[in-house]
């Protein structure tokens, strides 16, 4: 088997490299099959591994700024910039709706309780954002939006839009609700 030959050749060429590579392989296998957790540079490759059932309706956030212009991203290749808007806004709205709590707060707090050594070693580390970061977010979003559009922004409304697919494959709007005014 090719990989078998590879490890034998690696062993005979450089034993330190051999040990390093074997440890890396074992960590990867353990992370994926046993712990189901990742610590860079050991990753889980589980994107789309879980079922995505069809839903009767789909909900997303829509940002309208200035005179009703909409923040949209027509091309997928804009993703590196888009995620700064969409992901952070999703998190911001989630935290606003949950008394300023980050979705990972309870999970990480619980993990730290079960692993007190890490908590002690990393004392003073801020593991997740809280109300301090939450309050700074609107000002950052405005600056980033102005950088994106290269124009001053004087009004930002966030809507929650709910759509459903029709039989012909197109979508129709069910509701659009103003949920937050950032500026």
């Amino acid at each position: 088997m090719g990989s078998g030959n590879y490890f034998v050749r690696l062993f005979h060429t450089n034993k330190i490299l051999f040990v390093t590579v074997v440890i890396f392989c074992l960590l990867n296998l353990a992370a994926n099959f046993v712990f189901k957790a990742e610590h860079t540079p050991v990753y889980n490759w589980n994107l789309y591994a879980y079922k995505i059932p069809e839903q009767p309706a789909y909900t997303f956030l829509e940002v309208k700024y200035n005179d009703g212009k909409t923040l949209t991203f027509p091309y997928t290749f804009l993703e590196p910039e888009k995620l700064f808007f969409t992901n952070t806004l999703d998190l911001f709205i989630y935290m606003k709706r949950n008394e300023g709590n980050d979705p990972l707060k309870f999970y990480i707090d619980n993990w730290n309780t079960n692993h007190p050594l890490f908590k002690k070693l990393l004392s003073g580390l801020k593991f997740y954002p809280d109300t301090e970061e939450l309050n700074k977010y609107p000002a950052w979003f405005i600056k980033y939006l102005e950088q994106y559009f290269k124009e001053p922004v004087y009004k930002i409304d966030v809507y929650e839009v709910k759509v459903a697919y029709e039989d012909d494959g197109h979508v129709k709007k069910l509701t659009s609700t103003l949920i937050y005014t950032l500026l």
Partner: protein, 280 residues
Amino acid sequence: MIQEEDKERVVLCRLVFGFILLCLLFRFFLNATPSHLLQPSLFNLNLDLTYWLYQYFSIPQLVVYSHTGAIAFDVLLFGFCIMAILFPSKRIIIIFFSFLFLIYAITYNTYIVHHAHPLTILTLITIPFWFKKFKNWKLMWEGMRYYVCYIYAMSFIWKAVIGNSFFYWNQGIGSVKFNLAEYMYHYPGTVMASLYAFFIAHPYLLNIGNTFIFLLEGLMIVGFFTKKYDRILMILPVIIHLSTYIFADVFFIEMLVLVFVFFRKKDTELIGRRLPFILN
């Protein structure tokens, strides 16, 4: 003068770092490098110890929250990438760049509040070039090839064994509807929207396509047993990531740097002859 046996490494080094430079330039113009981040407030370290250390050692204070630091970081990132292309034998430049790029990848993931993998793969692929002795480099590069096969094979195992989405027939239509609802709402009159609508109205096509793509991931396991089909294995990631680009609205194109691990010696020799400047 480049030694004969070193030519393969030089060609691959310049291809890999040239690709990374293009990715960085692309991200620079999309305001996605530290000098454009404008001191973001929300972050996500998740349960990743490396990210915890990144935060613990106050690296964000230096490369994100200091305006001068952020600009200096961008200059260093681009500078070292260009130097790695110009001086592929200077290992210290490559090692330094790998760490800079790792910091960039962690920074990006931290402030998009989502831990994506494509950028960190770009870091891993630079590691073989840390090695001076040709045979060490060759073995690490070959190891990288196995790692690439592992990534896709493991992705298939997750879907077929751990997460079970492979056996869920409606995964294709479910995924497309979920990922493209926003696009379909904002751009209803476009050619792409019409195409998506056609597929959504014929879900069996999406479900077949989805299963086919999952199987292509599983096929990468062939690379563990033989190098005979490397020509085909080289094309599979291109098909996989193009299909997710079109039908799942996700941008994994940067992962295509992994295609270089399937280049054979004669491929690099051909590139060296066709593009002689790559060996200067």
